[in-house]
């Protein structure tokens, strides 16, 4: 099967859906002729022109608000925000408007808006270009929050996002952009709320997201050589969260670790731990553990940056500690 990078796979999803649905349009800074700071729209301007690939001034609050009105009136905006850090300027529009309008209109209005762009710590980007912030959006009723970890998922999940009628935060980790995976030519969709079992095992369950999947896989390789088999689960979407798949896995393994680059307090790991404790308590042979990025603004200097992101050795140690409980 052909291989595509994460970015190319997501771009193919967008291209396919734009070809099919003339009401889809993209807004963002440099997403027209330039094709996007991260090549998210390369080639599409030549096909669809400026009404559907709309370069904007630097107006994050402005374009989110404008797209809200557009989504309420029959079009399907895609907000290409480049770095998630930038749309924090539009937080009021997102939380008070985008997330609430379907509910407040008793479902008579739809909010088919996809907000997509980069997250994550990578390459000394420093604290205004390294955020992930997905727990903020998970905390708000009304958002779908998607965090794909590979090219195959990126395409299938973006297709689903573009077909749906809900606001979707589609968050692409920078460290994954150039990573390749097999992506079929045939059309496919990946439903929201369906986790992937990345690796099967019985000794412990590790739930991980985005760029952490690779690090957990490395640790699992090491442990496999010692005859210890770890199960790895990628929720793929954190809202909705597929807690059933996690519960089933914990039922089998009795041990759970959640590995997330994002901050611990009130994070995804805390949510998963609470739900598993509530519903799977009897399955647990050890306390649930979390491994998170350090709860600090992201520093620039490489040794400091490295110190705030969980690394493979820490993942391995966290699994060993969990197994020793």
């Amino acid at each position: 099967m052909r291989e595509l990078t994460y970015t190319a796979a997501a771009r193919e999803a967008l291209a396919e859906e734009m070809a099919r649905d003339p009401s889809i349009f993209v807004v963002g800074e440099g997403i027209g002729q330039r094709g996007g700071n991260f090549n998210t729209t390369t080639g599409l301007y030549d096909l669809y022109g400026p009404m559907r690939l709309r370069d904007t001034p630097i107006v994050e609050r402005g374009f989110i608000g404008m797209c809200t009105g557009a989504a309420m009136t029959g079009t399907r905006p895609v907000v290409d925000f480049m770095f998630v850090d930038f749309i924090l300027d539009g937080m009021g529009e997102l939380i008070n408007q985008v997330a609430k309008i379907q509910y407040m209109s008793s479902g008579r209005l739809k909010m088919p808006m996809v907000l997509r762009g980069s997250i994550g710590i990578s390459g000394a980007s420093a604290t205004h270009h390294s955020g992930s912030y997905y727990p903020l959006f998970v905390n708000i009723p009304g958002f779908r929050v998607v965090v794909p970890s590979n090219a195959y998922d990126a395409k299938g999940l973006l297709k689903t996002a573009l077909r749906g009628d809900d606001p979707v935060m589609f968050l692409e980790h920078k460290a994954l952009f150039n990573q390749k995976a097999s992506v079929p030519e045939e059309e496919y969709f990946i439903p929201f709320g369906k986790a992937a079992i990345v690796r099967e095992g019985t000794a412990a369950t590790v739930v991980a997201l985005a760029s952490m999947i690779r690090k957990v896989n490395e640790a699992a390789d090491t442990l496999a050589k010692e005859g210890v088999n770890i199960e790895i689960i990628d929720p793929r979407t954190v809202a909705p969260l597929d807690i059933e798949t996690i519960l089933q896995s914990v039922h089998k393994t009795g041990r759970l670790l959640i590995v997330d680059e994002n901050f611990g307090p009130c994070g995804i790991g805390a949510e998963i731990a609470a739900q598993v404790t509530a519903r799977g308590f009897d399955d647990l042979d050890a306390p649930i553990q979390r491994l998170n990025g350090v709860h600090t603004p992201t520093p620039y200097s490489p040794p400091l940056e490295a110190a705030v992101v969980p690394n493979s050795a820490q993942v391995l140690q966290a699994i060993r500690d969990l197994l020793a409980e």
């Binding site: 440099g30 330039r34 630097i58 850090d85 980007s125 205004h128 270009h129 600090t296 200097s301 400091l304």
Partner: protein
């Protein structure tokens, strides 16, 4: 020509030259992998920061953008601390935590460059508020690009500073592009001064490649602010002659070679030098002296930065709160 002493004329030259040489060194260091993150240079725009900051003291506050090396240097951050910061070293002005887009040196009134476009405009307005409340006579200064002038922060900040007569100088560096988006695409009214005046404030457009024009406009603006007569917007029309960010193509498809060449011919440093020589305000030997001294400073700064240690990872969570 403005009526300055020879020392003042040459100080402006020295400052612009220091910014230029420091950034040329940074650009080389970026290619060599010594600069770890993004690096937006100010090459071609040096006259703006230089002409404005010449009127400021350490108690005046500067708030800057992603293209802020020149603002930091002109405000008095030593080149060694800027270089060390971009090299990620503990001796950098932000102790390695920030890099190019987070240069902090409050000791000299450098209140930060920013990776987010817009906030500097509002924060400078707040500095003006502090100065007015505490009657310090200080001014707040925001440097920002044409792109930022279409952001809500611009409109909100200008309006607030005007209705409360705050001592703020808004310095818009109109280099005609926001990354690759032309200013003429991003707004129908490209007359920045007129936009500012529509809020009821004083505003002036100057040749941003003419350090003396900037100097004079800033002189008036700072006097007005210190006298309690409210904010001013200064638009410096200028051009960045390097890429938006190091590693990107310097020309790109959004601008033409002719345009770039025309602006290079209007280089703020060499044209100023020629002007001073021609008017007899300074002699060739004066420039030689300055250029040699600045080059030595930059070389030493580079060695200092390169040989400085990285921060200790165990300190990574210090200073999130005041008592740590």
């Amino acid at each position: 020509m403005a009526d300055l002493s020879k020392e003042q004329y040459l100080a402006l030259y020295r400052q612009m030259f220091e910014i230029r040489r420091t950034e040329e060194q940074l650009a080389k260091a970026h290619q060599a992998g010594l600069v770890h993150g993004a690096c937006h240079t100010y090459v071609g725009e040096e006259a703006v920061a230089t002409g404005v900051c010449a009127h400021l003291t350490a108690k005046d506050s500067v708030f800057s953008t992603h293209r802020g090396h020149g603002h930091a240097l002109a405000k008095g951050v030593p080149p060694r601390e800027v270089m060390a910061e971009l090299f990620g070293r503990v001796t950098g002005c932000s102790r390695g935590r920030g890099g190019s887009m987070h240069l902090f040196s409050p000791e000299v009134g450098m209140m930060g460059t920013s990776g987010i476009v817009g906030p500097c405009i509002l924060q400078a307005t707040g500095a003006g508020y502090s100065a007015k409340l505490m009657n310090t006579g200080a001014v707040g200064v925001a440097f920002f690009g044409d792109g930022a002038s279409n952001n809500g922060a611009f409109h909100e900040g200008l309006n607030l500073a005007t209705i409360w007569d705050l001592p703020v100088i808004f310095v818009c560096e109109n280099n005609m592009y926001a990354t690759e988006i032309a200013f003429s695409y991003a707004t129908r009214n490209t007359n920045m001064a007129e936009r500012a005046r529509s809020y009821g404030m004083s505003a002036v457009a100057v040749d941003g490649n003419d350090v003396l024009a900037v100097y004079q406009a800033a002189d008036e603006a700072v006097r007005r602010a210190r006298a309690g007569n409210g904010p001013t917007l200064i638009e410096g029309k200028t051009y960045r002659t390097r890429a938006h960010s190091e590693g990107m193509p310097s020309l790109g498809t959004y601008r033409t070679q002719e345009e770039l060449d025309a602006w290079k011919a209007r280089d703020p440093i060499s044209t100023y030098k020629a002007k001073l020589l021609q008017s007899g305000a300074a002699a060739e030997s004066d420039f030689e002296q300055i250029e040699t001294a600045v080059q030595r400073l930059v070389d030493e700064s580079f060695e200092f930065a390169k040989n400085s240690p990285y921060p200790d990872p165990s300190t990574v969570s210090n200073h999130i709160f005041s008592a740590s």
